[in-house]
């Protein structure tokens, strides 16, 4: 379970063959670890072994064959691999009816922080800087649990040497606090900063700020955002329009606005867009696109349901989840940005199925 991060090896520097061996052995250990501790996971793995004719003591030598837990199960069941008191991260549930509940222990939290730091440092540099948070301070309060928004804010906390929350609760939810923003900028005093907000909140705040004049950011400043695009798609805001809305008031290049993909079930693994517009997978994680109809691994260029694999989680079996998101592997090694290994693009949530027959769900 140790030696998760290799000294002096960048997150995207490991060669594919080396990574396969490295990750395979960790995932084999992790599978047994969760089987021993989480009875529900043991049930799912037993079915996977029985159906695939896999022996109980086999080593996972093909990551594409690695079992997954459908993410929806984290909304419906209490899946945990530890009896200790654990923190809980809940999905924001802005567009779905129920929230996922993912347990985290101290060790996993440490791994998540280290993982996020290594990945983000590779994109924006390791130096600490002022952190402008486009959210409420209350989002990160509490010790036993966080929302997905809170967890995402804290994932970047170790990049920060000072925090500035610049939104307050308004009549219709969070809204920009111009006094707090002004005070923060005065304190930052022209230094490069890092800013983060959930995609929709960041957009909403910048729409409200569009009339402000005199805003200026150091050109090395960066705006990171994550979270669903559904609300923005509904109002016909695409990525270029979003980037312009956020970057222009600060006189920043649009490339300084970076979208990153992540899931509450895989906190600690963030997938920022590289300058080539694709997402890279660190050596302690993997992604597999699974085909419609068969769930077989999709070929590069072929869209699929995203299976996310991470060697970080110890408190719950969320180390390999099948998401309802669609993605597409665009490179298996060697991006023009210089990062090696698998790169993919995110294609949004899988559309709901059309009604095909005259059968109905059972009504009682």
């Amino acid at each position: 379970m140790n030696n998760l991060f290799v000294q002096d090896v960048g997150p995207f520097s490991m060669r594919p063959q080396e990574k396969a061996a490295f990750l395979g052995s960790r995932l084999s250990e992790l599978l047994e670890y969760h089987v021993e501790r989480c009875p529900q996971y043991a049930t799912l793995v037993a079915d996977w072994r029985r159906t695939g004719g896999r022996e109980a003591d086999n080593i996972v030598d093909n990551i594409a064959d690695y079992p997954f837990v459908p993410v929806s199960l984290f909304k419906e069941y209490d899946l945990r691999s530890s009896r200790e008191e654990l923190a809980v991260i809940q999905s924001s549930s802005t567009t779905s009816t129920s929230a996922a509940k993912v347990y985290v222990d101290k060790e996993s939290r440490k791994r998540q922080t280290r993982s996020a730091n290594l990945i983000l440092a590779d994109f924006i540099g390791a130096e600490r800087r002022p952190y402008l948070v486009f959210d409420l301070e209350s989002t990160v309060r509490g010790t036993k649990g966080f929302s997905a928004r809170g967890a995402a804010i804290l994932a970047l906390a170790h990049m920060a040497n000072e925090f500035h929350f610049v939104m307050v609760e308004g009549d219709n939810g969070p809204e920009i606090d111009l006094d707090a923003l002004s005070a923060a900028l005065a304190k930052i005093d022209g230094r490069p900063f890092i800013a983060y907000g959930f995609t929709y909140l960041l957009y909403q705040a910048h729409r409200a700020m569009s009339e402000l004049s005199g805003l200026e950011a150091h050109p090395d400043s960066v705006f990171l955002h994550s979270g669903g695009w559904k609300k923005l798609t509904d109002i016909a805001v695409d990525k270029p329009a979003f980037n312009a809305t956020v970057a222009e008031p600060w006189r920043l290049a649009h490339e300084r606005v970076i979208d990153f993909y992540g899931m509450v079930e895989q906190i600690g693994i963030v997938y920022p867009d590289c300058p080539e517009g694709v997402k890279h997978v660190p050596y302690w994680a993997d992604v597999i696109m699974r085909r419609a109809d068969t769930l077989e691994p999709a070929e590069p260029g072929e869209p699929g349901l995203i299976q996310l694999i991470s060697s970080l989680p110890l408190a719950a079996p969320n180390h390999s989840v099948l998401s309802e998101d669609l993605g597409c592997i665009v490179q298996t090694n060697g991006c023009a940005c210089g990062r090696s290994g698998t790169a993919f693009v995110f294609r949004g949530r899988a559309p709901r199925s059309e009604t095909r027959g005259c059968s109905d769900v059972v009504r009682r």
Binding site: P70, D293, S353, T355, C358
Partner: protein, 421 residues
């Protein structure tokens, strides 16, 4: 907003608009000159044509369900289903004495308007056929996003015989978008009978259209179906037929069993043998009947539902892909979507355990029970809403009555006469 209405099939006099088509159908003489027997024979000829390997229709419309439709269109089938409702079918041609100096005659209702669901296009042909046999004129609306599966049948019918050509002239097929409110209203206001097939949203939309008060509504909305089986009363052939009933139409038909209640204790040898035999037969059926390619959401759901069944204390038999799943559970899990060849086996000892688990929207319960048990179970279950109790192998045969509705009596008017002394 205005849209064009696409007239796909119409007699020459129908013109180019929906209003003209409706007027042409309304203007036709009440008695078209094509008698009941000739109508049966024309459809029988159409059925034989469909079944021929060289059939043009086979190339024009989806294969799934075609064999069921061809069987249904046979003269003996149509005669049989009419006899279930009319004591003497001669009343479709003349007044027939019913005693006490009274005679009865059955005449067509008039103009029957059909709303065909995009997801189950062939189904509409079953009710269209009954309507046609009874001498009604028909206006069939296809969704603008669906293939025209009706016109090829009308062309084949017209080419088969003079009577067939006469029948084909009594049907107009149109297509227009779902949100073309005016076209829907024109159809609805012209209807003597409205027939709607499809999902909840589709049938609710048709029911909400303005309509003459005397119009008859026949609504075939979405339904859920089951099977109740005594392993002691079913042989391997029956198990194979039950598996086909479940797998065919990708288990998405209203008559597809979603749960199979099995009369045996979960740990009994009898149950285990049935589970294993059924799983083998289900795997065979899944391989033998082609399935539509699952979309991403359906594919994800298969994986999720398998996990749900396991975490609810169930056991599952399945393939290594997504072709079929048999989940054994103590009680039906309603969050599991029993579609695309995912069936739940529920053990039970007494019928009293099954009655409360019959859903409100039930349609079919495929049964294979000993005679006494069948009598007991069906008598009670009928009061819980079940509309039909076919044997394995008959689950998806379209029958009359359907969804508890007798089509014949709804599609003709009963005229009573006091006879001359």
């Amino acid at each position: 907003m205005s849209y064009a209405v696409d007239i796909r099939h119409a007699p020459d006099a129908a013109g180019g608009s929906l209003e003209e088509a409706v007027a042409a159908l309304r203007a036709r003489a009440p008695d078209s000159g094509v008698g009941f027997t000739e109508r049966l024979e024309a459809l029988d000829r159409l059925a034989k044509g469909i079944l021929e390997p060289s059939s043009v229709i086979r190339r024009q419309v989806p294969a799934q369900g075609l064999a069921y439709l061809a069987t249904f269109l046979q003269k003996c089938q149509l005669e049989g289903l009419i006899r279930r409702e009319l004591a003497d079918p001669r009343s479709l041609s003349e007044f027939v004495s019913v005693g006490s100096r009274k005679s009865i005659r059955h005449v067509p209702r008039g103009l029957v308007c059909h709303w065909v669901a995009g997801n189950v296009p062939l189904l509409a042909l079953f009710s269209w056929a009954v309507s046609v046999v009874l001498g009604n004129r028909n206006l069939v609306r296809l969704s603008s996003r669906q293939e025209d599966v009706v016109s090829p049948f009308l062309e084949a019918l017209a080419g088969g015989s003079e009577a067939g050509a006469g029948i084909a002239r009594e049907t107009v097929v149109v297509s227009f978008p779902t949100d073309h409110a005016d076209a829907h209203r024109i159809m609805s206001e012209a209807a003597d009978v409205r027939i709607a097939w499809g999902g909840r949203e589709a049938v609710t939309a048709v029911r909400s259209l303005p309509v003459p008060w005397e119009c008859e509504d026949i609504v075939f909305g979405p339904r859920a179906s089951l099977a109740v089986i005594d392993p002691a009363a079913i042989d391997p052939k029956g198990i194979g037929r039950l598996a086909v009933d479940t797998a065919v139409f990708d288990q998405l038909a209203c008559s597809s069993p979603q749960c199979i209640f099995v009369r045996a204790g979960r740990d009994s040898e009898r149950f285990k043998r049935f589970r294993d035999d059924f799983s083998r037969a289900f795997a065979d059926a899944a391989n033998n009947y082609p399935r539509h390619p699952l979309d991403f959401s359906e594919t994800y759901t298969i994986g999720l539902d398998r996990a749900r069944a396991l975490l609810e204390g169930g056991e599952i038999a399945r393939d290594d892909g997504t072709s079929w799943t048999v989940a054994v559970l103590d009680t039906p899990n309603d969050s599991v979507q029993c579609a695309n060849r995912f069936v739940q086996l529920i053990p039970f000892e007494s019928f009293s355990e099954v009655y409360p688990l019959i859903p409100l929207n039930v349609q079919t319960v495929v049964t294979q029970l000993a005679a006494d048990d069948l009598a007991e179970f069906t008598e009670q279950a009928a009061h819980f809403g079940v509309c039909r109790f076919p044997k394995p192998g008959e689950g998806n045969n379209f029958e009359n009555p359907w969804d508890g509705v007798g089509l014949v009596s709804r599609l003709c008017r009963s005229v009573l006469r006091t006879d001359a002394i």
